[in-house]
Amino acid sequence: SIQIPKERLPPEKPTIIKCRSPEKETFTCWWKPASDSTNHTLLYSKEGEEKVYECPDYKTAGPNSCYFDKKHTSFWTIYNITVRATNEMGSNVSDPHYVDVTYIVQPDPPVNITLELRKSIKRKPYLVLTWSPPPLADVRSGWLTLEYELRLKPEEGEEWEVQYQIWQFWPILKIKVICNSFLHADYAYSGCMSSNNSVCFLDFRVKDMV
C-alpha cells in the first residue's frame, strides 16, 4: 500500500475547547490546535448577519486563543464561531461553537482571603473571614452581581460541604463556634473547630448571578 507521508495530508479538524467571560464585558475563546497545521484562523458571525469577521486579537490571551475586547463583545447576540486549521495541503474547519456572552460568565476567584480567630465579649471564640471580590469584576456598580459560596472540608475529608451562599454582602463572615456544646451560626457555620482542633480548609466558589 502506498504510504502518503503524514505532512502531505490536510490538517485534522481543530476543536474549540471553551469560551469564557470573566466580567461580562469581554470574552476569550480557546481551541485545541490541529496537530499537523501551520496556522489557525478564528472566524465568527453574529446571529442574523451574513457578514463573517476574523478574530480581533490573537495575542492578549496567549496561544491558540482569541480575545474579544469590549468593542467586539455584544450582549445581544449569539456568536457562531469556527476555527480553521491550514497547511500546504489544505485546511479543515472546526464544528461551529455558539456563544451567548451572558451564559459564559465565570468570574475570577476572590482575593485577599483572611481568617482570624477572635473572642466575643462573652469570651466565646469565633472566626472572622474576609475576602475581596476578584479585581476584574466591577461589583461596586452592580453590573456584575456575585454570589460567594463558603465551602468547608475537614483536613482528612474529601467532600467539600457548601456552608453558606452570601449574596454580595460586603465580604465579611462571622462564624461563631462553641466547641463541643452548641454550634450556632450568626451567618454561617464552621464545623472545623471540633474537639481535636483539626485544621479547616476554606474554599471559595464564585458564581455570577446571571
Binding site: 446571529e47 442574523g48 455584544s74 450582549f75 445581544w76 447576540t77 449569539i78 457562531n80 464544528d95 461551529p96 455558539y98 456563544v99 451567548d100 451572558t102 451564559y103 466591577d138 461596586r140 456598580s141 452592580g142 453590573w143
Partner: protein, 199 residues
C-alpha cells in the same frame, strides 16, 4: 440550556431573552442615574432652589411620551419602542460630555465620576439592544427619525459656579427622569408582549 441545539439554522436569542436583558439594563441605568442625582443634589444643590428652575427644561421635553399608566398601555407597542429609541439616542451626546465635564466639578467625588462613565457605556449598550428588539418587532426599517438635539455643553462650562452647577443639576434631573421613563416603558412592554399583561 444548550445554545443552538444541533446547530439549528436560525439560532438566535428569543425576544423574551432580549427583553429580559433590556429590562435588567434599563433598571440598572436608572438605579445609577438616581444615585448620581441624589449624590449631586446632596452635595451641591442644597438650599439653592434648583428644582424650581429645572421645571420644563429637559432637552427631551418636546417628545410626547405617555404620562400615566393608561397612556402607556394604550399606545401601540411599535410607537412606544420608537419613543424609547428616540429618548436613548437623544442621550448619547449629552452623556459623552457629562462623563468628561463632570471631572471638572470642584471635588467631584469618585462615586459621581465613575457613574457618569458607566451610564454612558451602558446607555450605548442598551441602545444596541433596543435596535435589535425593534428590528425583531418592526416589520419595516428601524425608524431613525425620533431624536432631540442637545445644546447644553456651553452651560456645563460656564464660569459662574452657580449657573454651572445648575446646568449639571438640570442634566442629572432630566437623566434620572428619562432613564425612569425608559425603564418603566420597557417593563410595561415586556409584560404586554412577552407575558400577555400577566407578569
Amino acid at each position: 440550556l444548550p445554545i443552538c441545539p444541533n446547530g439549528s439554522v436560525n439560532c438566535q436569542l428569543s425576544l423574551e431573552e432580549l427583553f429580559d436583558r433590556a429590562v435588567k439594563l434599563s433598571h440598572y441605568i436608572h438605579f445609577l442615574s438616581s444615585e448620581m442625582f441624589n449624590e449631586f443634589d446632596e452635595r451641591y444643590a442644597q438650599g439653592r432652589g434648583f428644582i424650581a428652575k429645572a421645571v420644563n427644561s429637559c432637552h427631551t421635553a418636546s417628545l410626547t411620551t405617555p404620562e400615566d399608566k393608561e397612556q402607556a398601555q394604550q399606545i401601540h407597542h411599535e410607537d412606544l419602542l420608537n419613543l424609547i429609541l428616540g429618548v436613548l439616542r437623544s442621550w448619547n451626546d449629552p452623556l459623552i460630555h457629562l462623563a468628561s465635564e463632570v471631572q471638572r466639578i470642584k471635588e467631584a467625588p469618585e462615586t459621581i465620576l465613575w457613574k457618569a462613565v458607566e451610564i454612558e457605556e451602558q446607555n450605548k449598550r442598551l441602545l444596541e439592544g433596543m435596535e435589535k428588539i425593534v428590528g425583531r418587532v418592526h416589520s419595516g426599517e428601524v425608524g431613525n427619525d425620533i431624536y432631540t438635539p442637545w445644546d447644553g455643553l456651553p452651560s456645563l462650562q460656564l464660569a459662574d459656579e452657580d449657573s454651572r452647577l445648575f446646568a449639571f443639576y438640570n442634566l442629572l434631573h432630566c437623566l434620572r427622569r428619562d432613564s425612569h421613563k425608559i425603564d418603566n416603558y420597557l417593563k410595561v412592554l415586556k409584560c404586554r408582549l412577552i407575558h400577555d399583561n400577566n407578569c
